[in-house]
Symmetry: C2
Subunit: 266 residues, 2 copies
C-alpha cells in the first residue's frame, strides 16, 4: 500500500502513475504540489451538450478544464497519458441520482457512450493563498472546507438547474481584500469570491452548520469569504437524476499535467 501523499518534485504524471498502479487510495490534497487537480463528472452523451452549456453559463461554480470525446477515456489536454478510468484513487457510481457504489477504477463500469468532464477546484487557488502568507482555516483545523447551498440560482441549461454551492474561508478584512486580489487571477478555478460578510444575504442561515464539509470557527475580527464551489455541478447532476453518472469521491481528485501557475491570467 502506497501511503505517502506528498513527494518532493513529483509531477502530475508521476502522481497519476502511482494511482494507476493501484497502491494509492487516499485523498489527493498535497499530491504533486503545483499541479492542477480537478473535479470529475462523467455523463452519458445525451446529457453532454446541455451539461457543457450549463458549465459555460455558470463558469464560476463550473470552470470546465477539459472534456472527452464520447466513449474515449483519454483527456490529452490535461495529460498525454491520462486514462480517466484508472487515474483517480476513488470513484462514485450513481444510478438515477442514487449512490450505488464506490470503486477504485472504472474498468468494469465503463460504457462507450460516456463523456468525461473535468472542472477546476479550489486546491489551485488555496495553494496561491498560502504562498501569499494567508491562513486557510480548514487546513489549520485539518477538516474539509465548509460548503453551503445558497439562494443564488445557477443559469439553467436543458435539465440542469439548481442553486450555487459556495465554499467558505474566514479572513481578517485586509486578508480578505488580498484573497480577492489573489483569486481574481485564477478565473478557471472559481476565480474571485462571489460574496463576503453577511451570509444571510445569500441564504445561509447558520454559518456553523454547513450543508457539506465541516464547520470551522469564524472569529470576531474575521469576515466569512465565499467562493463558488465545484460541488455545485454534482449537486445539480444529483437533482437531474440521470440514469447513469460517475463522479470522483470527495477529496479524491484528478491530478493533471497543468501547473497552477499556468492558470494565472496575470
Amino acid at each position: 500500500m502506497d501511503t505517502i501523499t506528498s513527494i518532493k518534485g513529483e509531477t502530475g504524471r508521476d502522481a497519476r502513475r502511482r494511482i494507476r498502479a493501484g497502491g494509492f487510495r487516499k485523498p489527493t490534497a498535497g499530491m504533486a504540489p503545483g499541479y492542477v487537480q480537478g473535479n470529475l463528472a462523467i455523463l452519458p452523451k445525451e446529457f453532454a451538450a446541455d451539461f457543457t452549456r450549463f458549465c459555460m453559463l455558470n463558469p464560476k461554480p463550473c470552470p470546465l478544464l477539459g472534456q472527452s470525446e464520447p466513449g474515449d477515456w483519454r483527456l490529452p489536454m490535461l495529460g498525454e497519458d491520462l486514462d480517466i478510468r484508472t487515474d483517480i484513487p476513488r470513484y462514485r457510481v450513481w444510478k438515477k441520482g442514487e449512490l450505488i457504489e464506490e470503486v477504485d477504477d472504472l474498468k468494469k463500469v465503463w460504457r462507450d457512450d460516456l463523456v468525461s468532464f473535468v472542472l477546476g477546484c479550489s486546491f489551485s487557488f488555496e495553494e496561491t493563498l498560502i504562498d501569499n502568507g494567508l491562513e486557510i482555516r480548514h487546513q489549520s483545523c485539518d477538516v474539509n472546507v465548509p460548503m453551503y447551498r445558497t439562494n443564488i440560482e445557477c443559469t439553467p441549461a436543458g435539465p440542469f438547474h439548481g442553486p450555487m454551492v459556495v465554499s467558505m474561508r474566514p479572513f481578517k478584512p485586509a486578508d480578505a481584500i488580498r484573497a480577492v486580489q489573489v483569486t481574481t487571477r485564477f478565473p478557471s478555478v472559481h476565480g474571485a469570491p462571489v460574496h463576503l460578510g453577511k451570509p444571510e444575504m445569500i441564504g445561509i442561515k447558520d454559518i456553523a452548520k454547513p450543508d457539506y464539509g465541516d464547520a470551522v470557527p469564524v472569529r470576531d475580527d474575521e469576515l466569512p469569504v465565499f467562493w463558488a464551489c465545484g460541488v455545485t455541478p454534482q449537486s445539480v447532476v444529483a437533482t437531474v437524476k440521470p440514469e447513469f453518472c460517475i463522479t470522483h469521491a470527495p477529496g479524491y481528485m484528478l491530478v493533471t499535467d497543468l501547473l497552477n501557475s499556468q492558470l494565472a491570467v496575470l
Copy 2:
C-alpha cells in the same frame, strides 16, 4: 464668472487654462472627465526630503504623482504648461499649522524655497467604479466623501508621522468584491481598499460621524469599504506645523494632463 464645471471633450490643459484665466473658482470634480486630478502640498525645501520619504513609505495614503524642483512652479511631468501658482481654483495658506487665508493664486505668497508635491486622489478610481456600473454613495447624496482617522499608524519619516485617514464608500458584498478588483488596477491613486466591514477594527467608533467630509447611509445589506485617503498627508503636515505650507482647498484639485486610464497597471 465661469460657472460651468463639465465641458464635453475638455482636456486637462483646457481646464487649467480656464482656471488660470481666473474665471473658474469652484470644486473641480467633473472637470476634464478622464483626466487625473491631484492633491497639492507645498513645503519649504528643508522638509522636502523627509516628506518625499514619508510618501514613499506610505504609498497607499500618499501616492506621489509629481514633485517640483525647489522654487520652481512648473511640474512638466503632469502638464507641459502647468503653473502650480495659478492652476488650482483655490489654495489654503498655513503658518505653523494654522490656516491663515484662502487665496485664488499663489503669486503674492510664492517663495524661492518652496517644493510642490502632487498626490493621487480618489476621483480617478471613482470614475472607473462608475464606469463599472457601481454607485458612489456620496455622489448620489451630493455630499463630500466621509473620511475617518484610523488607528493605523503611518510609517514615520523625519518629523512626519500620524494616523492613516481613510475614505469610506458602502457597497453590497458582490459590488465590494468588484470594487477591490477595479481599484487594485490603480495603485498610484490609493489602489485597493485597506479595510472592509468591521469599522471598529481600525478605530472607527461611529460610522455616522466622520472626522472629515459628510456622513452617508450604509444600508443593512452593505459593507463599508475603506480606502487610504489623500487627506492623510494634510493631516500629517498639520501635526508637524511647519512655519509655512500651502495646500489646495478641499475639493479644489489640480487637473493634470495624465489620463486616468494611463494609471491602470493592467
